[in-house]
């Protein structure tokens, strides 16, 4: 049974949306909450019955998927690597320049600004999201009224497009009449001058990004929390543990694997943030709120500096893969162990 329960943490919504009778959520939660349990995706049940025919049909079946991924992602990315070593623009033959593009990028103060902005936004967004996610998951686990409706409410931002979210949050923090602005002034807090002050701009970007992605983090953590056996808490109660002790000694350690997975995925996905920034501030004022993806876009499609953009792109790829190294290593080992 356990073999089936190993699911990629990314599958969570899917499993929630399906198989109502089978209590998939609990399985998923089991997989996520068990410390040291492999929760990576493509791993086969070890006891699988061998289909007697050859493996040839399998190759045909994976062809469409592999073809798409190879032609639309893999080859283009390799080509970006090659482009990054060349000076090129539209309709112009690439000219090999070695590492010049990288030197140009790394000596561009706007690159470093966009890098530090990206790092700040990622750190703020992912950790606040995790904190909020744990909080909301705990709230749900302690029982909330009208749970189906509450769940629908918490997951609703998942359906919202980035542009609509930007419209919403910009309206909320309209400097003259926005609800958010009025709320801030009611509390006596400084107002968000997000279009003038880069720090405030990034803050609003972080806020709306958290709003958009909290459903993802929440569901992973909630599923993991549901999977913690109730008798652990009962036993702790018998021993006279306080609510805080239970959280500290039971909930937190058992939730940790799920938290790590959620955090890792959100690091990788928050790292590529583009639309929120582009639509809200366009990277301005004076290129002060640019993030890496916006920097890449501007270099390529506005300043026609294809080589520089390609170098940035290749750096993004390397950084993403480095972030994911731990996950990739586990995945690799597990997959080959299961196939051998």
């Amino acid at each position: 049974m356990q073999a089936k329960n190993r699911v990629d943490s990314h599958n969570f919504l899917v499993l929630l949306h399906s198989q109502p009778g089978q209590n998939e959520l609990e399985h998923l939660g089991n997989a996520l909450a068990r410390p040291g349990h492999p929760h990576m995706g493509v791993c086969m049940p070890k006891s699988g019955v061998k289909v007697r025919s050859s493996n040839l049909p399998a190759l045909f079946m994976i062809t469409p998927v592999q073809l798409m991924v190879i032609s639309m992602i893999f080859i283009p990315v390799l080509y970006v690597g090659w482009l990054s070593l060349n000076e090129s623009s539209f309709g112009q033959a690439p000219l090999f320049v070695g590492l010049d593009n990288y030197i140009n990028v790394l000596s561009d103060p706007y690159f470093w600004k966009s890098l530090s902005n990206t790092v700040i936004v990622v750190l703020v967004v992912v950790h606040l999201e995790l904190l909020l996610g744990v909080g909301v998951a705990m709230l749900f686990a302690s029982g909330v009224p009208a749970r189906p409706l509450m769940l629908a409410a918490v997951l609703a931002p998942y359906a919202v497009s980035e542009i609509s979210a930007v419209v919403m949050w910009r309206y909320l923090f309209d400097y003259d009449v926005g609800f958010g602005t009025q709320f801030l002034s009611l509390l006596g807090l400084p107002l968000l001058e997000w279009s003038i002050n880069p720090t405030h701009g990034l803050l609003l970007i972080a806020l709306l990004s958290i709003w958009l992605h909290l459903p993802f983090t929440f569901v992973i953590l909630y599923a993991a929390r549901l999977a913690i056996p109730g008798d652990l808490y009962e036993a702790a109660s018998v021993d006279g543990a306080t609510a805080f002790q239970k959280f500290r000694r039971i909930t937190l350690p058992l939730l940790m694997p799920a938290m790590l997975i959620a955090m890792l995925f959100r690091y990788i996905f928050a790292f590529r943030i583009f639309s929120e920034v582009w639509l809200l501030t366009g990277g301005g004022p004076a290129r002060q709120t640019e993030v890496l993806a916006v920097y890449l876009y501007l270099e390529a499609f506005r300043y026609n500096a294809f080589g520089k953009a390609a170098a940035t792109g290749w750096l993004l790829v390397i950084a993403s893969l480095l972030l994911a190294l731990w996950y990739l290593r586990r995945l690799y080992k597990e997959m080959f162990a299961n196939y051998a």
Partner: protein
């Protein structure tokens, strides 16, 4: 902590969560029925005379938007069908066959998914232009599907694993071809998984911005793009029309997510009662 205090704190927490998730959405939807003077009145109007003016203005002055909405629908349906079918095929293969090459290809699928999408626009942009695929539906369909087949394959494999192997083996012995087994046995039994994958691809394709922004100009322009144009209009934002467009773009997919959640809620309740 006294019991009543705990209850009050919890009520406050529940309100905060609802507030956080719903207020931005409700605000847009409600404001789309407000006249211009009510949209930016301070303090905000809770009671106001509802009007359809913004929707009329959207219809008469931004006919472009409805064309884009149609494009979004075509692209979303196309990407969903492509992603679900190809993922289901691959998911079946990964569920039923064993080979080191398959392990390698499965690993490759996930590895590639970790690459930031914007990077591929650099080489694809000239290539797409050269092939005359710029501003076409098919390009966005393939791109959106591509960025979801890795996840889709994982999900389908998980669902296929739950279908007893004995079923397809029995059919095999009875002389059914692979294709018949897939079509008559596996796909119907994995329908839940296929619905699940569609939820992901559909929500993503309907809302996607970067690729649409870079690869379309007029013909295949999608709804989020037109909304962003309204938002960035030089002569000042017409908020009422913008709210109306956002509402029209948001509501179908919001309803879809809420409907798909019924499965989720049923699963959760079952989980709670079983302990």
């Amino acid at each position: 902590m006294p019991d009543f205090l705990r209850k009050i704190l919890k009520a406050i927490a529940v309100c905060l969560v609802l507030f956080w998730s719903l207020v931005p959405i409700v605000l847009i939807v409600v404001s789309s029925f407000k006249a211009d003077k009510d949209i930016f009145s301070a303090p905000p109007q809770i009671l106001f005379a509802p009007t359809f003016d913004n929707y009329v203005a959207l219809w008469t002055r931004w006919g472009d938007f409805f064309h884009a909405l149609l494009n979004s629908a075509i692209i979303t349906v196309g990407a969903t069908v492509l992603a679900v079918l190809s993922s289901a095929l691959a998911g079946y293969a990964y569920s039923r066959f064993r080979h080191p090459a398959l392990a390698g290809s499965a690993f490759f699928l996930i590895f590639v998914r970790l690459i930031p999408p914007i990077v591929v626009t650099l080489p694809l942009f000239p290539a797409v232009n050269a092939m005359g695929l710029n501003d076409t539906h098919i390009l966005l369909i393939v791109l959106y599907a591509t960025f979801f087949v890795s996840l889709g394959t994982l999900v389908m494999r998980t669902f296929m694993d739950q279908i007893p192997r004995e079923l397809d083996e029995a059919a095999h012995i009875d002389g059914a071809t692979r294709l018949q087994i897939l079509r008559k046995i596996i796909f119907p039994l994995a329908a839940q998984g296929m619905v699940a994958v569609s939820v992901f691809v559909l929500v993503f394709s309907w809302n996607e911005f970067i690729f649409a922004f870079i690869f379309t100009t007029t013909n295949a322009k999608t709804a989020p793009l037109v909304i962003s144009e309204m938002y960035g209009a030089v002569e000042g934002v017409e908020w009422g029309v913008l709210f109306a467009a956002s509402t029209v773009q948001l509501l179908p997919v919001l309803l879809f997510v809420i409907l798909a959640q019924k499965h989720l809620v049923a699963g959760l309740t079952a989980g709670a009662t079983k302990g």
